[in-house]
């Protein structure tokens, strides 16, 4: 079974600075997807960024980018120019690629990010 580990329960960053959230995972599969979700106090889980394992290029979405190291099974999220609205719980998630039975997401335990004005 796959596992996802987020070793930083809490992080804080000064507004406008850059912060990196860590995520490692364990799998024997070669093809899969990785996701970062954000959960603000409003509680709705919002997709931040998605990475396909067979793509070597790191995904980016505006101020959000990932450092995907497949061999090391590491998938960190970098937030540049942090804004107050980035304050949230961030979850890393893994999903197998392929067909029936592989739609499940396995989540890490989350990192609570605080933005200091």
């Amino acid at each position: 079974a796959q596992t996802v580990t987020q070793s930083q329960p809490e992080m804080s960053v000064q507004e406008a600075e850059t912060v990196t959230l860590s995520c490692t995972y364990d799998t024997s599969e070669s093809d899969y997807y990785l996701f970062w979700y954000k959960q603000p106090p409003s509680r709705q889980m919002i997709l931040v960024i998605r990475q396909e394992a067979y793509k070597q290029q790191n995904a980016t979405e505006n101020r959000f980018s990932v450092n995907f190291q497949k061999a090391a099974k590491s998938f960190s999220l970098k937030i540049s120019d942090s804004q107050l609205g980035d304050a949230a719980m961030y979850f890393c998630a893994y999903r197998s690629a392929g067909d029936f039975g592989n739609e499940k997401l396995t989540f890490g335990t989350g990192t609570r990010l605080t933005i200091i004005p």
Partner: protein
């Protein structure tokens, strides 16, 4: 935009009651999921469904059941609620299997069992 709607934002029930949590999505998604979220444990999958009338157990199905009579609706049932089922429950949906699309989540139901 995909809309996943959970019927209640907060719910308080008593031990032993039968509890229904409802989830509706408006994007004709085939897949639907129920997760439980607890501090320090992240989200854990309870049940999921790939189609009407179909259901699959997730990682923590004990004490729960589900129903999917219509494609847009996926219900989570606590047959006899217990205090250890006090938690946040999140519903999600995604398009047909095998295409790598992300799951879309509802706002969650915070359930308290007294």
């Amino acid at each position: 935009d995909v809309k996943v709607t959970q019927s209640s934002r907060y719910l308080v029930k008593r031990t032993g009651e039968k509890v229904f949590l409802e989830c509706v999505q408006d994007m004709d998604h085939e897949n639907m999921f129920w997760y439980r979220q607890d501090p320090g444990l992240g989200l854990r999958l309870i049940y999921f469904s790939y189609d009407v009338k179909m259901k699959e157990k997730g990682d923590i199905p004990e004490g729960y059941s589900v129903s999917r009579e219509k494609k847009e609706r996926f219900s989570l049932i606590l047959e006899s609620a217990s205090t250890n089922q006090t938690s946040m429950y999140l519903c999600a949906s995604s398009p047909r299997r095998g295409v790598g699309k992300p799951q879309h989540f509802g706002d969650g139901t915070r359930l308290s069992i007294l």
